[in-house]
């Protein structure tokens, strides 16, 4: 089985219970849809257990970045356990420490401040995609930045 070198697999925690999980999922989607659409793929984390060998081969086929909402690091642990060691990891609560005034609220509906934070998480994730692929600077196929992208 050969590794695909021009795409990165992003595995987000499902995080239904906490707002950080919602931020993980939305940041992942922003990268998939807007910032790095040609260079990223994803898989639902619970599919590692629910699916078959094809799904569990994900991290052996793609270099992988895990995005976790909290310190439990389900995406990182699950990816290692079922599929393979991720090339890079992100934990939203670690990034949140750089924003001491931001208090997260509802776990489904993000406020304007939470959206802005989520876009910053997406940009960090997009940079990591670039680092993994070895083309670290530009965002998106046309140099589009997250702030310019429409929701």
């Amino acid at each position: 089985m050969s590794i695909v070198k021009n795409k990165v697999g992003i595995v987000s925690c499902s995080g239904e219970e906490i707002p950080e999980g919602t931020i993980s999922r939305i940041a992942t989607r922003i990268v998939l849809e807007k910032l790095r659409p040609e260079e990223t793929v994803t898989i639902c984390l619970p599919l590692f257990l629910a699916g078959g060998e094809g799904e569990r081969a994900f991290a052996r086929v793609f270099p992988t970045i895990t995005v976790d909402g909290c310190e439990k690091r389900c995406a990182e642990i699950g990816t290692k356990k079922y599929s393979g060691r991720p090339a890079a990891t992100i934990v939203v609560t670690d990034i949140l420490k750089k924003y001491p005034n931001l208090k997260l609220g509802h776990r489904d509906e993000l406020s304007a401040e939470e959206w802005e934070f989520t876009e910053n998480v997406a940009e960090e994730l997009a940079m990591k995609v670039g680092e993994v692929l070895g083309n670290g600077k530009e965002l998106g196929g046309n140099g589009e930045t997250c702030q310019k992208a429409e929701r």
């Binding site: 995080g15 239904e16 939305i26 989607r29 984390l45 257990l49 356990k81």
Partner: protein, 136 residues
Amino acid sequence: MSKKNYVFVIPCSGIGKSLGTVGRKAAYKVVEELRPRPTRTTCLALLTVGDEETLKEVREHPCISIDGCPAKCAQKNIEASKGRLMKSLMVTDTLRRHKELRPEGVIELNPEGCELANLLAEEAAKIVDEILESRD
């Protein structure tokens, strides 16, 4: 009703499809608006990685799964965790009964998708009532 007597409503993570977002919104609607006292949700990923505390919870309490696609990740993760799965709901079953409500969008769901989530949430809330009535 005892504080310990509650039902888990657990959606799939559904990051790849609009149907997953519908399932998650439906679960939130049940646990936050329709039946906030007797229901809870949890991160499905905690079951995937075998978190001991979460395994104990789903084994002790009735669970309803809500899945967006035929992979049935929520149902299968609860089953693999030996959780007390009482009912499995599929977003596609509700969509089949309301074909006009075609969901679109993953980050933000279109109005049709939100309405579909509301209908699915009402179905789930009725099942919560049935489970709790059968235990009384």
